[in-house]
């Protein structure tokens, strides 16, 4: 199956009208839609196998445990992990970052140390580190974005200035959810390793869109959410190299993560169970594995090419509009399948509300990156983001909706 029209029967939610117009869903950067195959996998689990994992000795519990662990192995394969034990299930990107910021930092971060981030991080890859640094007496620094208007890629010429031996961890996004910039993740990991810093990649915007292999990237941690890659909400992943995970203290305490509990104290299982206290989101894990199957059935190279093509078409169409500023990489630089933009005299909220009246679903706001918005000199932007089920006709519908916006507010 090819991305685009052929996939649309798999996404029942897309076949509806909004405000009397066919829905044009261009907000997959916030959350993707889910194909029938994922919904069916979740339903089948609840209808046939539902039981708690890792504790029951009865048939259903064993089936549920097997399905849960098979999902873990499937996801390990999806990201190229050497060992399923390197896959920790979490609630999403945010919890995965918080887990590392709480656990790894408590064991490894000392007063005077630095955590290096970039100016284009989502709040969820910023605030947990600020909290961890404050606890440890460490400092957070930010690699700047380049360009006079601050909307291009990272300022790699200044990397050496920031990536010093004081840096214990470098956390950065693979694809910026605001700019659509694709960062050179493997290169950044290599440079971090050279100064002895651990690395964490926020793959929330990339893992369902582009081919990705944690071993080729050479990262220590990689985090993502199921809901942005055709999977259910409530499930996400922390990939961590086994040696690092096994040396980390627990995150939350509870059932499932202990080896032995005495009134005087407890001992803990190795990863991944050590970090999965309590009953996990079993159905979510199964749904996420089904999402991996679905995505690989189409192929991530084909999805990436499709997304990029729609992103470029949109960029070109939008740049025709009067008074618009299209953010993101220069033509020719890698751009993910999304376009953020701002009109000189029209607030992003008004753009999004009027587009919604045309059935076109956009995101408008600060995209969970307030400091970057300040640097861009914009209170907010609107964003169209594309995925495997979007079509060229929808790019045309976007352009038509925005022409109406301009006409209405002009």
């Amino acid at each position: 199956m090819r991305p685009g029209l052929e996939t649309r029967p798999d996404f029942p939610v897309l076949a509806q009208q909004v405000n009397g117009k066919p829905l044009v869903y261009l907000d997959s950067g916030a959350t993707s839609q889910k194909p029938r195959q994922v919904l069916a996998a979740v339903d089948a689990y609840y209808e046939r196998d539902n039981a708690n994992v890792h504790r029951g000795l009865h048939a259903l519990s064993m089936r549920a445990t097997e399905a849960f662990e098979k999902s873990r192995a499937r996801i390990a394969r999806f990201v190229g992990a050497a060992d399923p034990a390197e896959i920790v299930f979490t609630r999403g990107t945010t919890e995965s970052v918080n887990l590392v910021a709480a656990s790894w930092c408590s064991a490894n971060l000392r007063p005077g140390d630095e955590i290096l981030l970039t100016e284009m991080e989502h709040h969820s890859n910023m605030v947990p580190w600020q909290l961890a640094a404050a606890r440890a007496g460490a400092t957070v620094r930010y690699l700047p974005v380049a360009g006079a208007d601050a909307e291009h890629g990272l300022d790699l010429d200044r990397l050496d200035e920031f990536l010093t031996p004081r840096v214990k961890l470098f956390a950065f996004t693979h694809i910026s959810n605001t700019l659509g910039v694709v960062n050179p993740a493997a290169e950044l990991c290599r440079r971090a390793r050279a100064v002895g810093a651990a690395t964490l990649i926020d793959a929330a915007q990339s893992v369902g869109h582009e081919p990705l292999d944690v071993q080729a990237l050479g990262c220590d941690f990689l985090v993502f959410s199921g809901h942005k890659m055709c999977g259910p909400t409530g499930i996400g992943v922390l990939y961590g190299r086994k040696a690092l995970l096994d040396a980390m203290p627990p995150y939350q305490g509870g059932g499932g993560m202990i080896e032995n509990v005495e009134f005087s104290g407890s001992t803990f299982k190795p990863a991944p169970e050590r970090f999965e206290a309590g009953t996990p989101d079993i159905a979510g894990a199964i749904g996420l594995a089904a999402a991996c199957d679905y995505i690989d059935g189409i192929g991530r190279p084909a999805i990436a090419a499709h997304d990029h093509r729609l992103g470029e078409l949109a960029r070109a169409a939008l740049e025709e509009l009067p008074g618009i500023r299209v953010l993101g990489p220069r033509a020719g630089s890698p751009r993910a399948g999304m376009v953020s933009f701002a009109f000189a005299n029209i607030h992003a909220h008004d753009v999004v509300t009027v587009a919604d009246q045309q059935g076109v679903a956009l995101r408008g706001g600060h995209h969970c990156n307030m400091p970057l918005m300040k640097k861009l000199g914009l209170p907010s932007t609107a964003r169209a983001s594309f995925y495997l089920y979007n079509t060229e006709e929808e790019v045309a519908a976007l352009a038509a909706a925005l022409r109406k916006v301009v006409k209405f507010f002009g």
Binding site: H347, A348, D350, T353
Partner: protein, 151 residues
């Protein structure tokens, strides 16, 4: 643009295009500023209060069409009101936006103000519609004094 009638009604569009009472108010003796950091909307509302009555009101600010039109509606409809009546109006508009047109008697939000009911259907925009009114509520409670920004 008929499909937008529900939201960007003529009234809101009119106040956006030709804002009433926008600008400084050098004689103000009550002032309050509100900001909505999630979208960058700003509103400063200035009142000149004499003998328990708002004799003049004006706003400055920047932001989306709804926030600015609502500020224009707020400043123009508060002018001339007794203090207690102004506070009641602020409360009624808040109820109108949050709970919908059924929640307030039509005489509580007279005239053009009824247009703000359109914002009820857009929960994500309640903050835009109410920014100026919250500033008004704050200004009504603020201690009397010269507006330093204008001094």
């Amino acid at each position: 643009m008929s499909e937008n009638a529900e939201f960007y009604q003529a009234v809101i569009d009119d106040h956006r295009r030709r804002p009433r009472r926008r600008g400084p108010l050098p004689t103000a003796n009550r002032v309050a500023a509100r900001e909505n950091p999630t979208c960058g909307d700003l509103c400063t509302l200035r009142l000149r209060v004499e003998a328990g009555r708002i004799v003049e009101a004006a706003f400055t600010g920047a932001g989306c069409a709804l926030s600015q039109a609502s500020a224009s509606l707020a400043a123009s409809s508060l002018e001339g009101l007794e203090f207690a009546r102004a506070a009641a109006l602020v409360a009624a508009v808040e109820k109108l936006v949050r709970n919908g047109p059924g929640a307030v008697a039509s005489e509580e939000t007279p005239g053009d103000l009824a247009a703000l009911a359109a914002a009820h259907a857009l929960p994500a925009r309640h903050a835009c519609a109410l920014l100026a009114w919250q500033a008004a509520g704050q200004a009504l409670q603020s201690p009397e004094g010269a507006d330093r920004e204008n001094a």
